[in-house]
């Protein structure tokens, strides 16, 4: 039974491979569905133009034909898939260029924002949640409970607007955007500092929005684990408290936290949309919004696909971590 360690390892890999296949199918399914839904939505990029009396019907028809909008749906889908393979991901009517090159700088900016805030949120939540779990029924317990409840109740919009207001009133922080004027002329160190300053408001808003929930989950999971008989047993064996909490309780509490981590990763490209728009952060959010309003078909699909890719990837990573951390799941897989 115990010698099945290697067998369990091979089984785990097989499971992961299966999940990866599912992820691929998910991507294909999402792409298809998004394509269909966008198609079903009324109008296209040239609808506005049709309303303009100066533009003739024939011109519109010709434009649509030129961009291939009059082809049948399956053909357009397949052409789009081919375009993805080439790295172009379709064509943006508004920008007059392939979607791919438009996306990547935006993706990079968004990842800078969400990566920083997700990392900070977790780095804050883990020790805070752990500390909270060890304080039962004290003033600290009630205080943290109230604080997290308050922050959870506040909508993200309120948080970011409030911070923006603070920035504008005090002038300590830039009021939006990612870089200041004259950014390119600055030396390397100053440029980093410039971006960092611009990050403060949106990152704080995002962290204040996500950390409270994480803290609660960490606390709940750890509190459960600390009540477990094997923790009492570990203490009864005279193990130092730090080992009891970090080597025994935390790994046992890790399951839900790993799933949550996967969700965090999955949301790296999608959760910051509102904040980006409000602070004018040049990320994926504003681009997507713009594209939707303009009905820029392929430019809408691009971010959707990128988000889904990260979602699938995040879940896969969570699955892999779970298999690595919990031997019981390995054996049952």
């Amino acid at each position: 039974m115990a010698g099945g360690g290697r067998a369990a390892g091979a089984l785990a890999l097989a499971t992961l491979a299966r999940r990866a296949l599912h992820a691929l199918l998910l991507l294909i399914g999402v792409s298809l569905l998004s394509f269909l839904l966008l198609e079903l939505a009324p109008g296209d990029y040239f609808s506005e133009m049709r309303l303009d009396p100066r533009v003739s019907e024939a011109t519109v028809r010709e434009l649509r034909a030129r961009y291939g909008l009059d082809r049948p749906l399956p053909e357009r889908y397949l052409r789009w898939l081919a375009s993805i393979a080439r790295g172009e991901m379709g064509y943006s009517f508004a920008y007059g260029q392939p979607v791919g090159p438009l996306l990547w700088p935006r993706v990079r900016n968004t990842l800078l924002l969400t990566g920083t805030s997700t990392a900070l949120a977790w780095l804050l939540a883990l020790p805070l949640g752990a500390w909270w779990a060890t304080r039962r029924r004290g003033p600290a317990d009630a205080g943290l409970a109230g604080l997290t409840a308050l922050l959870l109740a506040l909508p993200d919009l309120v948080l970011v607007l409030g911070l923006l207001l603070l920035a504008v009133r005090t002038g300590w922080l830039p009021a939006g955007g990612m870089v200041s004027l004259g950014h390119e002329q600055m030396p390397w160190g100053a440029r980093m500092r410039d971006v960092a300053l611009h990050l403060v408001v949106p990152v704080t808003a995002l962290v204040m929005g996500t950390a409270p929930m994480l803290v609660r989950y960490v606390r709940a999971g750890l509190a459960d684990a600390l009540d477990a008989p094997f923790v009492t047993a570990a203490r009864a064996h005279g193990l130092p408290e730090r080992r009891v909490v970090f080597w025994h309780a935390l790994p046992a509490a890790a399951n839900p936290l790993i799933s949550l981590f996967g969700l965090s990763l999955a949301g790296l490209l999608s959760t910051s949309l509102l904040v980006e728009v409000v602070v004018s952060w040049p990320g994926l959010g504003p681009l997507l919004l713009e594209a939707i309003l303009a009905r820029d078909f392929y430019l809408v699909l691009g971010p959707v696909l990128a988000s889904t890719l990260l979602l699938a990837g995040g879940n896969l990573l969570a699955d892999a971590l779970l298999l690595a951390v919990d031997p019981r799941i390995r054996s049952d897989a």
Partner: protein
């Protein structure tokens, strides 16, 4: 030379939310000498787990020691600070907890959970701790300690897990082993194996043990003395032969009558339904003035309601707390 463990008139109360304290232990006194196994017989709620936790200094925050002392080799355990108690736990006084399935961390390998105890108390290199853990595993009867070392708890059977827990308790060669129902969650054959193992270990290592169990077979096999506990008090004491074959206290008699007799190896025997004890144990939050067993006692006397009986000594080595024997 002082006894290894000396508990003197220990009383522990649980402070509940708002109000009456619940009496978990009501003046318990007992002694364990070097090389002696003392058995503790009692049902849930009698305070046996509280007693073990009090000895280890692991009482929950809601519990308070109201009076009494616990001395280990003359040292007052209740007065000791936490670092001192942590130093004793696992190395000088160790415990075998109930439910081995729950006493081991499911996401860590079994062997590591034995080795870390060595590491915590004796330090040393990872390899040395692993070696000591392996030898402890061999000592509890594993023929392939290496394989068990690398296994996870859920890959082991109930009996194997329990043996790992025993290895954890013995790895630092403690002076005193506390055992809380070690055979309780196992099935019949595993119980028998464990009983044999405990007997063998006791004989070979001359263990001093406080064995809490309702497995009379285990108590009969290795305990030199048996103490019966009810509602936080010790109500009877004697050798296993005395207490099991000739119980004095009405609760002990009731308890033994409630046990189904073991199947004989050969020959017919009369079937007998176990005889229950009427009623249920008292609510620890409202302990009566008189004898705690009085409401359920078939032999009650008028004095039993008025005051709690003192300990009497009707014979050499026999103690009983009951008005039937004096007082």
């Amino acid at each position: 030379m002082p006894a290894l463990l000396e508990v003197c008139d220990l009383a522990v109360h649980h402070v509940g939310d708002g109000g009456r304290p619940a009496v978990a232990l009501d003046g318990v006194s007992l002694e364990v000498s070097e090389g002696e196994v003392v058995g503790l017989l009692g049902e849930s709620g009698c305070g046996k787990t509280t007693l073990l936790l009090a000895i280890l200094g692991l009482l929950p925050d809601s519990a308070r020691v109201v009076r009494g002392t616990i001395r280990f080799r003359g040292r007052d355990l209740l007065a000791a600070d936490e670092p001192e108690r942590r130093g004793l736990r696992g190395s000088r006084i160790s415990i075998i907890l109930q439910e081995p399935a729950l006493a081991l961390n499911p996401v860590r390998r079994a062997g590591a959970q034995v080795a870390e105890i060595v590491q915590a108390h004796r330090g040393g290199s990872g390899r040395r701790c692993r070696e000591e853990a392996l030898s402890a595993l061999a000592e509890v009867g594993f023929s392939e300690p290496g394989r068990i070392y690398d296994s996870y708890p859920h890959e082991l059977s109930g009996g194997q897990r329990q043996r790992v827990v025993i290895a954890q308790a013995l790895v630092c060669r403690p002076a005193l082993v506390l055992a809380d129902e070690p055979t309780a969650s196992l099935d019949t054959t595993a119980q028998a194996e464990l009983r044999a193992l405990l007997q063998e270990l006791q004989g070979r290592l001359n263990l001093s043990m406080l064995l809490v169990s309702h497995d009379l077979g285990a108590l009969a096999a290795i305990a030199r003395r048996v103490l019966v506990m009810y509602a936080g008090r010790l109500v009877e004491a004697g050798t296993p032969a005395d207490v099991f074959a000739g119980p004095l206290h009405p609760y002990s008699r009731g308890l033994l009558a409630a046990l189904p007799p073991p199947p004989p190896r050969a020959g017919l025997w009369p079937r007998r339904l176990p005889t229950p004890i009427a009623g249920s144990p008292p609510d620890p939050a409202s302990v009566p003035e008189g004898c705690a067993f009085e409401p359920r006692c078939p032999d009650r006397l008028p004095a039993c309601v008025e005051r709690a009986p003192r300990e009497e000594q009707p014979a050499e080595g026999r103690r009983v707390r009951c008005f039937k024997y004096g007082g």
